[in-house]
Symmetry: C2
Subunit: 331 residues, 2 copies
């Protein structure tokens, strides 16, 4: 295959230039991209790195690996209320990469560029003897001074979460443990659902506007619901109270809850959800729910913000319960 592996200039021309459809990218035929910011908008910038067999499985379909690498970054932008505009891609290619693999990787990027209205602005490619490493810098825009931070939650805010929680962590467990589905009585469609949620996060780009319009604080749930709630609580110097009975879950997770409540609670805190956790002032709750509904993004009120000093309180059946996990450490 070595003969089929092109040098850097060919690599750019063949694989990456077709993704650089923005006029400022010049088809990557320059040292840098040029972007004219829209007046009245701030830029939001984020960077997430992913390594084979840490953040994804090297054997996963290349399309899915590419889309996950882009999506975890778009999720960060969405949580800040920002619409994605462009990204830069750093690729450390494993020594055994093939043109076919890279072609499929770029097809995954192309599909998601269309789905999320974002373009490749630039990047760089090196060899990585240790296995594939992906570094994405994503840049979005938000109306000026309307970016949603972690540190804006106030006592009295309602606590919301988008979508369902726990599927990503369950999908990872099912990947690692062939007996997982049978043990919890999951059907084929349940298993397919959780595996897919781990493989391919759904960044809540559609929720960005409702967040920048109404939320005091937000972040995406990547480390786990409880760990990320603690990040907001600490940054905002408040307490977050979560009613576990209100946390929205998929049918698959519902079955796990019935079979093993302890395992279930662990999965809620397990990470890889890429849903949004948001603190919304009581006066804006109706408008936030309307905005989310109009955008087609399900949101569920799961608790509230109280005066405090950075703690997360979990309740079930009206009684406090202990947090089962401190969140997943990728590093």
């Amino acid at each position: 295959m070595a003969g089929d592996r092109p040098h850097e200039f060919e690599l750019i021309k063949r694989f990456f230039a077709p993704l650089a459809t923005d006029s400022g990218s010049l088809g990557l035929a320059d040292d840098a991209a040029v972007f004219t910011p829209r007046p009245g908008y701030d830029l939001v910038l984020t960077k997430d790195m992913l390594a084979a067999d840490v953040h994804f499985f090297a054997v996963d379909p290349p399309e899915a690996i590419a889309r996950k690498a882009l999506r975890v970054n778009l999720s960060d932008l969405a949580a800040k209320g920002a619409r994605p505009r462009g990204y830069l891609l750093g690729l450390g290619l494993a020594v055994d990469w093939t043109a076919d693999w890279l072609e499929r990787f770029c097809a995954g990027l192309k599909a998601d560029q269309a789905a999320y209205d974002v373009v490749l602005w630039g990047g760089d490619t090196i060899k990585s003897g240790d296995g594939l490493q992906i570094s994405v810098t994503a840049i979005g825009e938000v109306p000026q001074a309307r970016a949603v931070r972690r540190n804006g939650a106030r006592a009295g805010d309602a606590l919301y979460v988008s979508g369902t929680i726990g599927d990503g962590a369950a999908g990872l467990k099912a990947r690692l443990d062939g007996g997982f589905a049978a043990r919890f009585g999951l059907h084929d469609e349940d298993l397919a659902h959780i595996l897919d949620r781990y493989l391919l996060p759904r960044p809540r780009v559609e929720l960005a506007e409702a967040l920048s319009d109404h939320a005091h604080a937000a972040m995406d749930v990547s480390d786990g619901l409880f760990a990320d709630a603690k990040h907001i609580a600490e940054a905002s110097a408040v307490d977050l109270k979560i009613d576990l009975d209100l946390v929205p879950v998929s049918p698959a997770l519902g079955k796990i809850r019935e079979a093993n409540p302890r395992e279930f609670t662990g999965l809620l805190g397990g990470g890889d959800d890429y849903e949004i956790l948001a603190c919304v002032p009581e006066a804006s709750v109706a408008a936030f729910e309307d905005g989310a509904g109009a955008a087609g993004c399900p949101v569920t009120r799961i608790g509230e913000v109280a005066t405090g000093n950075g703690q997360v309180e979990l309740h079930r059946g009206g009684l406090p319960v202990q947090s089962p996990t401190a969140g997943f450490q990728h590093f």
Copy 2:
């Protein structure tokens, strides 16, 4: 040392947060940075990755590795006429990293942030079993529609280069070949000069304004003078004529020229210079030289742009000579 290696949150707090002095970075205590672009300015975005023992030596001082990783990106911004504003840092740390190493790496970044008026906006850190990998995304600003591209050179433009050419390539050769200095009669200060030029590029940030004010086209010389001249020639659909007798060189390279003209010409095309190659219309030549002089950046006229189809013509003593190299391929 493992006990001295902190987890990610501590890593950010201890090493990286002190570098995130911009209010939009929030000390990295959020998922993303927020940046308010200045009205009337475009943004220039670039990303360069560096891998141990490909783009730098793993045994180099960590301060120098950090500064080189940042500087090669600032060089791209400068060539586009942009002043640096912020950067995002992706770090794949080798398995044997130590807190002392990272402390020195961050001290290098801190020094260059002050030197070049740029701040850390965000980033991510993962483990890299294969050895250190660094991915920097740098963002600068340039007056709107004044970014300098590769594709704007026109027949009749004067061709300029900043600083001296060939030192970086000579420094790399000297690193790899202990007999290099003696073979060409280099003194200690010559050797120190070329070694330093390879270790620590000097991005021509100070030339950015004169470029955006006056240049038709520009890029930084990273692949080598002849290869990069060809990039401009091809992108602009012109020919570039370079008079080798005019290319400015250091005393060290002057000695190599006397000892071995063939070796010398190879070094001119060898890369790692991080000087600026610029095409300036004849009517702006005086203003460009004045601007460069006022900024303290030496520039030398080395040739001209002619009608053509993407060729580079080299001359010496008034006669055409063949290009000795197609440029260095990092990948």
